[in-house]
């Protein structure tokens, strides 16, 4: 555990900054402002494309929350974003730039999809637990590789995790064309998982399921772990200043591997939930890029696990609504990527402008300075 003295050294220049509710409020409002500006720019793009922004946004809303089915489908679309968003939040808090949530989710799905067909006759809760554990192991392995290479060989985890995304995608393709392919060999898809491994708790008559409850529970767990445990404090300290953390005796190597494995496990569970609750088998494309979208989800949530849930629902609504938007207006679904990219850009730019002259933090300037002041206060208590 860090002593108060060492923490004072680490944050010597931040002590007087960013305290008080007003600036915390401002930090919380900026994501909303970023979304509004993104919407304004999108409107201009839509007008340029010859569509009416108001009509498009109305259909976007209707597609996302128009009725019970649309609303629950938005939740279903948000589900994998909660898991991957938590994965990103945990990793980024520790300044591990895990861009590989996509690959970790896919590997989690592969392991769960491979074990799933063998779970015939198992009691349902145990079969489900095995599925999720399988996903967690797969994801932890994939994230852990990058963690170990970073800790032992100083391999840049950004490039490593991106490369592993491509490897995971090819592995999935091979699995559904090869070892796990359905016996009829008609389509590139795997054998259906056992009935007992198919998540049974649904909020009828929708596809919304127990997975979302698990996602919320994990979000609370991550929040407590990150902000109310010694280990979480160490992870955040590592994120603020790696060198000082090493100097004050934190087990940098173990923390690096642990954070990457945990981050991977969260994504992997997301993959397993997808297989268990939604697809019931593996397909060539399990993820439409959730691992990348999760970066936007996590940033809008200010890397706060509790805020990940509403943030994921927001982006889930965008995904879900965009399909209705495409049907009605012929606007291509790739528009969602533009929105995601712009939200991130506007948000980090806002943070930079709002905190000009402050000490550099995780996101340039003051991006998580509010969190830093919490960190300082905690160290003071310790």
């Amino acid at each position: 555990m860090l002593s108060r003295r060492c923490y004072e050294l680490m944050t010597a220049r931040v002590s007087a900054l960013y305290s008080g509710a007003a600036s915390q409020f401002a930090a919380a409002v900026r994501p909303l402002a970023a979304l509004l500006i993104a919407a304004a720019i999108i409107s201009i793009v839509l007008i340029a494309l010859g569509a009416s922004p108001l009509a498009v946004f109305a259909d976007l809303w209707r597609g996302a929350f128009g009725n019970w089915l649309a609303t629950t489908d938005t939740m279903v679309k948000a589900m994998p974003l909660v898991f991957t968003g938590l994965a990103i939040a945990i990793a980024f808090q520790g300044a591990m730039w895990n861009i590989g949530a996509d690959g970790q989710l896919v590997v989690g799905a592969i392991v769960a999809g491979a074990i799933g067909p063998a779970l015939h006759g198992w009691p349902h809760p145990i079969a489900i637990a095995v599925m999720f554990a399988a996903g967690a192991v797969g994801g932890a392995l994939w994230g852990g590789i990058a963690g170990i290479l970073r800790a032992r060989r100083q391999v840049n985890e950004i490039i490593c995790t991106i490369m592993l995304n491509f490897v995971a995608a090819q592995m999935l393709s091979w699995m559904v064309h090869g070892p796990l392919m359905e016996p009829s060999r008609a389509f590139p898809q795997s054998v259906v998982i056992a009935q007992d491994a198919q998540l049974a708790f649904y909020f009828e008559p929708s596809r919304l399921n127990f997975g979302m409850i698990l996602a919320v529970v994990l979000a609370v767990g991550c929040y407590i772990g990150l902000f109310h445990s010694a280990l979480g404090f160490e992870v955040r300290a590592l994120g603020r200043n790696r060198r000082a953390s090493a100097f004050f005796g934190l087990p940098i190597g173990r923390l690096t591997v642990g954070v990457m494995a945990l981050s991977g496990a969260l994504s992997g569970i997301g993959g397993a939930v997808q297989v268990s609750a939604i697809t019931h088998r593996l397909f060539e494309t399990m993820s439409p890029g959730w691992g990348y979208e999760a970066i936007a989800v996590a940033l809008v949530a200010r890397l706060n696990p509790l805020a990940i849930v509403p943030s994921a629902i927001l982006f889930g609504a965008l995904d879900n609504g965009s399909q209705a938007m495409q049907r009605a207006h012929g606007v291509s679904p790739e528009l969602v990527y533009i929105i995601q990219g712009m939200v991130i850009i506007i948000l980090v730019a806002f943070d930079a402008v709002a905190a000009r002259g402050l000490r550099p933090t995780l996101f340039g300037f003051g991006g998580s300075a509010a969190a830093s002041s919490d960190l300082a206060a905690e160290a003071g208590d310790a």
Partner: protein, 303 residues
């Protein structure tokens, strides 16, 4: 057989080499440009689109560079002027590029994205050199962009190690405070580096669509920009090392065609995954970032 393999090795290595040389300049100035994938993608799309509608390869190349430079300018505002986190900003640029090219692709070429093609850039045979057995066609009967890429290797090496501009570049990447104290203008140096990289990424993208495939499919860059990032590390931030690493990775990518033609029992996905697996393995063996510019990835704020 071997001749075909060598030729496709050079073809696969060219876009990686072009963008990696740009990335080298950027990283030497202290910026880690994850947005390189996005720059290559917009170059690929806007290059072929301009060539398709104008019928001019030259206009296509200009459009490719302009699009990539514009994207890098946005990145420069973020990571140089606003000093935001370079990984986050670069990733956002990549996502944005995927969206922009996707939306405009469907806008210009229909909802189904029906395949469109252009007359590709012609290969230029360098006289008798092109008739050298084995290596001749690979090195001396290629598109102009291949020659540009090869010629740029010594040029970039000399600029970085032997010119005043190279010295400024390295100063900004190693000790930005000191460079600023000497009045070198770290912001200006990093901006310039990103603009140069924009041109090179644009050419790399243009090579993909206008010389190699003659068409565009969504996400055609397929991680080549990220491979270029690895190539810079494997090449130890040195133009010659980067050239060697590019050929190595180009060879790994070309292997799939060679071995598919021979018809092995190994699933094709293994060959598609090979360059990415190789990246991780090579980085794991080489380890370390000891040769990296000291200030790489650190936002610099003039105080």
């Amino acid at each position: 057989m071997l001749e075909a393999f060598l030729t496709s090795t050079i073809a696969m290595a060219t876009p990686i080499l072009l963008s990696a040389l740009g990335e080298l300049i950027v990283e030497r100035s202290g910026v880690l440009n994850i947005g390189i994938e996005g720059a290559m993608l917009v170059g690929a799309f806007f290059g072929i689109t301009a060539a398709y509608f104008s019928g001019s390869i030259a206009l296509g190349l200009i459009a490719a560079c302009a699009a990539a430079v514009a994207l890098n300018a946005l990145l420069a505002v973020l990571v140089v002027n606003l000093a935001v986190n370079q990984v986050v900003a670069g990733t956002a640029i990549d996502i944005l590029a995927l969206g922009l090219t996707g939306v405009f692709y469907r806008r210009f070429f229909g909802q189904t994205g029906s395949a469109f093609t252009i007359t590709p850039m012609r290969n230029i045979a360098l006289g008798p050199l092109a008739r050298i057995p084995l290596a001749g066609p690979a090195l001396f009967n290629q598109s102009a962009l291949v020659y540009v890429a090869i010629a740029l290797v010594p040029v970039v090496a000399i600029i970085i190690s032997r010119t005043r501009y190279g010295l400024e570049l390295r100063a900004a990447g190693e000790r930005p405070e000191a460079a600023d104290a000497l009045g070198l203008g770290v912001y200006r140096i990093r901006w310039q580096a990103l603009m140069i990289a924009g041109v090179l990424s644009g050419l790399a993208g243009a090579y993909l669509t206008m010389a190699y495939t003659n068409t565009f499919i969504e996400g055609i860059s397929a991680g080549r920009g990220y491979v270029a990032l690895s190539v810079v590390i494997v090449g130890r931030w040195n133009a010659w090392g980067i050239a060697a690493a590019s050929i190595l990775f180009g060879g790994a990518m070309a292997l799939q065609f060679g071995l598919q033609a021979v018809g092995t029992a190994i699933p094709y996905q293994f060959f598609l995954a090979l360059p990415y697996v190789m990246t991780v393995v090579v980085l794991a063996f080489m380890g370390g970032q000891a040769d990296a510019p000291s200030a790489l990835g650190e936002p610099y704020v003039r105080s």
